[in-house]
């Protein structure tokens, strides 16, 4: 049994694990990343499931990959290219449609067609959210303080948080408070009257959550779109050339360039603890690797329930992790297509297909989809966020052919009776049936179909309950409560064991932010 010595072990080669490893290696640490699968990237992978067609199997858009990560790790030099998504196209059952374009005037005109008042409100809304995004941005790159602690060190953190809030304009603070506590439907009702517009905007607030558009706490995700704008990111939503896996590959290449070792097919079976500290890991085949720092990029349940002896953790912390909600709510369908889909409401292969296609005709539609899931069924009429990546990056499919990515919600992890192969295919059929109501030719052009339910996401990608964000993004699981109060600063009750996955602040999506902040915390710089 050979033993190797490293400064740091990063468990899990997802994008956050890789970002963390890259920063640690960049700071001079000897780092090894241990990935269970044969490919890197975790949920950010590109795989050729069907010959000639590349699927961004799970995660499919790059929303808020921190520009500072791209800059600091020189990701462009390592092959990262993010192409903008041009539009959001919402086909409607009544034969109409709504498209929000990259161009302001075009979007205003289009919304005006549905409601002159909404066209006007849309700009004002944008202004407000821009202001809020500016206000919120410091929080996104702040290591959460422990506000429940009275330790002087922690009080200083709480005081800094207080000072931060004190610095916000009251009107901005109030607007922010509303945004954080309201449902996206209620929030948007204050501004708009066009159902398709409200629903399509609200949809971004429910992605990956087990909440409906009328659930309080869904409004704040509306900010995400605007956060991109102030970040100097070209546009909030983008597609990585080569698929989402290309993001992981670029980060991995950066990490390697700083000297990190990256091992695939190296599943960690256990974190070794000695006394109150972590000293290394044991792989499934029995190999032990030791290091003075162990970082887990896995979700909190996997890290603290599967990999650690319960006795190594205080019971209160274990209870907190038990209560950490991680219900999966979404599925994914990937299609290889012989041709492009033809939407009845907007025929042809125009630019509307080059962006997101959102099946979100009304708020009630989304809410009904949620109702099904609430009681343990997949949505009969699901919300879908669809992309045709091959239109943006022709290398994703053979010439003239296409790949289509369908993010589908809701697919509850705790399906009544449980998931099985048959139910997975029913779920897939239901998705195609729903899409065919808008694009009737879809059934004739499918060459291959891959269906992923929360069950598959857990089994294949190690996402507990198939939750794509490593834990729900609800109000009581955010910031200093993510994943548990007192342990939201990337540390854990086990000394030298850290966490850096989406289950920590600021949460899910391909942002790399948890990985980077965790590295900062590990490297001892509390505030930057």
């Amino acid at each position: 049994m050979k033993t190797q010595q490293f400064d740091a072990i990063v468990i899990g080669g997802g994008h956050n694990g890789l970002v963390n490893a890259a920063y640690l290696a960049r700071a001079g640490l000897r780092v090894v990343v241990l990935e269970r699968r044969h490919v890197l990237g975790g949920a950010a992978v590109t795989e050729e499931i069907y010959p000639g067609f590349k699927y961004s199997v799970c995660s499919y858009v790059v929303s808020l990959l921190r520009p500072e990560i791209i800059r600091e790790l020189n990701l462009a030099r390592h092959g990262l290219e993010i192409l903008p998504l041009e539009s959001t196209f919402t086909p409607l059952p009544n034969g109409d449609h709504l498209v929000r374009w990259a161009d302001h005037d075009l979007t205003r005109r289009e919304i005006y067609r549905h409601s002159p008042r909404d066209a006007e409100a849309y700009d004002d809304f944008g202004q407000l959210l821009y202001r809020l995004a500016v206000a919120v941005k410091p929080l996104m790159s702040m290591i959460p303080p422990d506000v429940a602690s009275l330790h002087p060190r922690d009080l200083a953190g709480t005081a800094r948080l207080g000072k931060y809030f004190h610095g916000i304009e009251p009107s901005t603070f109030y607007a922010l408070h509303k945004l954080m506590t309201m449902s996206s439907a209620d929030y948007l009702d204050e501004w708009f009257e066009t159902e398709a517009l409200k629903a399509t905007m609200a949809a971004s607030g429910i992605i990956g959550t087990f909440l409906g558009p009328r659930s309080p706490g869904t409004a704040y995700v509306l900010l995400h779109h605007y956060l991109g704008e102030i970040d100097g990111a070209f546009r909030a939503w983008g597609f990585a050339r080569g698929g989402t896996g290309a993001v992981s590959e670029a980060i991995a290449a950066a990490a390697r360039s700083y000297g990190a070792s990256i091992r695939t097919e190296a599943p960690v079976a256990q974190i070794i603890t000695r006394g109150d500290r972590a000293t290394g890991v044991v792989l499934a085949d029995g190999e032990e690797i030791h290091a003075s720092t162990v970082v887990s990029a896995l979700d909190p349940k996997r890290t603290f329930i599967n990999l650690i002896e319960p006795s190594a953790l205080p019971s209160e912390f274990r209870a907190a992790i038990d209560n950490f909600k991680i219900r999966g709510s979404s599925g994914k369908v990937n299609l290889a297509l012989d041709a492009l889909p033809e939407f009845t409401c907007l025929p042809g292969t125009g630019p509307h297909l080059r962006g997101a296609i959102s099946i979100s005709p009304s708020v009630d539609y989304l809410e009904h989809a949620y109702d099904d899931a609430k009681y343990g069924a997949f949505s009969r009429r699901p919300y879908m966020d669809i992309l045709i990546p091959s239109l943006i990056d022709p290398t994703m499919a053979p010439p003239g052919k296409h790949v289509m990515s369908l993010f589908v919600q809701y697919a509850p992890s705790d399906l009544v009776g449980g998931w099985n192969v048959q139910k997975r295919e029913q779920f897939g059929d239901n998705v195609i049936d729903t899409l065919s109501e808008y694009a009737p030719n879809i059934k004739d052009i499918i060459l291959h179909r891959q269906v992923l339910t929360p069950w598959d996401l857990e089994r294949d990608f190690g996402l507990t309950e198939g939750n794509i964000f490593h834990g729900e993004l609800t109000l009581n699981q955010l910031f200093f409560l993510r994943p548990a109060s007192s342990w939201a600063d990337y540390t854990t009750p086990v000394r030298n064991l850290f966490q850096c996955g989406s289950g920590t602040h600021p949460g899910g999506g391909i942002t790399g932010a948890p990985g980077r902040l965790a590295a900062q915390r590990i490297l001892g710089s509390r505030w930057t």
Partner: protein, 528 residues
């Protein structure tokens, strides 16, 4: 013509409380009430000869202790009854559950359902006491002016900090997680018995257009417990002789302090000069001047209907319009020829508090599902009281009164409106629902009074029929109540104050809002 120091618009319990305190401080006060009786929504009326019915609010959860004491309400005839039973929850699929005001008795009761839950109960009760005590510090004072507290907030801030400091760390964490949580999550984390979870969950949705799975409903639950007797969960208290007795006692106390109360005096307009309220104009044309005008009416009615909205800045108009009211509650009052026989209620004592038809969280959530699409619930959540069981004076000998709060009866119906037909349908539906649990009720009904949200608006002046003068949801609480920037009982119009349930402390019959408002006003008057 007399000039007053203060005119109070509306003789609800908060208006009267405020009036009494102002009178006590030496103000010359005039209370103007539109109806012919005082009490607002806390009235006892005699819609059917011999039956003295609490037509609108029919129970309290506890009064602000200072109010009872300072105004010697007991000397003015106020007698609060504390039934030993808080909640009786009948169940069609199993045995009923009673929550007693004595925690030990409740624990014993729960034991027959689940020993796990029985074990959890005392911890839950203790934690709720901790949480409500913390909240009471907030409720006893005007809200802190977040995000930039002022000098006058220092005292409250220090008191809150001290309270927070005195909690154990795990209580602090639990409190932080509790405030933004859903009541469903709170009870799911602790209990396994459906009927128990339903009975608790019901208190989280009282009067709001949200289901128990909505974030923020844990807070709504806490709100109803702030002034409850310690240890009692869902305490149900009655005013002897009917809830109108509270207003009568307050009026009597106020008069002792020289306050004049005029009924049948509808205020049509608040007279404003140079952005300063200087008096009111009555429906008959009479004008009465005063140094201060205090409105007990809800904020929207006050600022947009009684006040000419042209006096408001557009931002404040916008905020006032955005207050979420959307009443969710109807009221059904029955005059009964005999005592209702609830199946499983082995002894009458169990029925002395609230009888809650809320057999599970899912039941409540389903009830909400209907309401969110603009329909009254197919299966109704009911909070029933039979005040005649403990107060025989309310009805003719041997006869009884049954009062039911009916949820959800959405103010905004889709495809329908509230009229005689829909009102009757609702009334029938309520009686039918009750009959499943108390089969003798339908044949015992002598009279029925159904009050829809539309009636609540029309007859009781509650905007959109909201019994709390604005939803008690996270986005409309504390420094956000009634509107951001005007949470300290002042309004955008100088010398116009608000003291109703739409302000902080309000919602439910506690008198806290009126109490806080009076103290702010007295302080302002003293400092010129």
């Amino acid at each position: 013509m007399t000039t007053y120091d203060a005119i109070i618009i509306g003789a609800g319990h908060n208006g009267l409380t405020c009036a009494a305190y102002l009178g006590r401080a030496g103000f010359r006060v005039l209370v103007l009430e539109r109806r012919d009786i005082v009490g607002g929504s806390s009235v006892t009326e005699e819609p059917f000869p011999g039956f003295h019915i609490d037509t609108c609010a029919h129970r309290i959860h506890g009064l602000h202790p200072s109010v009872t004491q300072d105004l010697s309400l007991n000397n003015h005839g106020l007698e609060i009854q504390h039934p030993s039973s808080c909640v009786y929850a009948p169940n069609l699929d199993g045995p009923p559950l009673t929550l007693w005001s004595d925690p030990a008795r409740t624990t014993a009761e729960i034991q027959s359902f689940s020993s796990h839950d029985a074990q959890q109960w005392p911890t839950f009760v203790t934690f709720m006491a901790v949480a409500t005590r913390f909240l009471r510090t907030m409720y006893d004072h005007p809200p802190i002016q977040a995000p930039r507290p002022k000098m006058e907030d220092v005292g409250t801030l220090l008191r809150l900090a001290r309270r927070f400091k005195n909690l154990t760390k795990s209580d602090r964490i639990a409190l932080l997680r509790l405030l933004p949580a859903s009541i469903a999550d709170v009870v799911d984390e602790r209990f396994e018995t459906d009927i128990l979870k339903g009975a608790l969950g019901a208190a989280g949705i009282n009067g709001i257009m949200q289901g128990p799975m909505a974030a923020g409903t844990a807070y709504t639950f806490l709100h109803t417990h702030v002034y409850s007797p310690p240890g009692a969960i869902r305490a149900t208290l009655f005013v002897r002789g009917g809830i109108g007795g509270l207003a009568t006692a307050l009026t009597s106390a106020a008069k002792r302090f020289g306050v004049s109360v005029r009924t049948g005096a509808e205020v049509q307009n608040i007279i404003v000069k140079d952005n300063r309220a200087v008096g009111v104009a009555l429906a008959g044309g009479e004008e009465i001047t005063a140094r201060y005008v205090v409105s007990n009416a809800d904020p929207r009615h006050t600022l947009l209907a009684i006040l000419d909205p042209a006096n408001l800045a557009i931002g404040d108009t916008r905020k006032t319009k955005e207050i979420k009211f959307r009443g969710a509650v109807a009221k059904v009052n029955l005059a009964l020829a005999e005592r209702p026989e609830f199946v499983g209620a082995s002894d009458e004592e169990r029925l002395h508090g609230t009888i809650t038809i809320a057999p599970s969280i899912d039941y409540l959530e389903h009830a909400y599902d209907d309401a969110k699409y603009g329909k009254p619930s197919g299966e109704l959540f009911l909070d029933i009281t039979i005040p005649t069981l403990t107060d025989r004076s309310l009805a003719p000998n041997g006869k009884h009164i049954l009062s039911a709060t009916v949820q959800y009866a959405p103010y905004h119906l889709k495809n329908h409106s509230w009229n005689d037909d829909t009102r009757d349908t609702l009334g029938n539906h309520v009686v039918e629902t009750i009959s499943q649990y108390a089969p003798n009720v339908p044949s015992a009904v002598l009279h029925r009074q159904t009050i829809t949200p539309f009636d609540l608006e029309k007859d009781y002046g509650l905007s959109e029929g909201n019994i709390n003068h604005g939803e008690l949801t996270l986005d409309q609480l504390y420094f956000m109540r009634p509107i951001a920037g005007w949470s300290r009982y002042e309004s955008p119009i100088r010398n116009l104050y608000l003291c109703g349930a739409g302000t902080h402390g309000g919602g439910g019959v506690t008198c806290a809002a009126g109490y806080n408002a009076s103290r702010v006003l007295i302080k302002h008057a003293k400092s010129g």
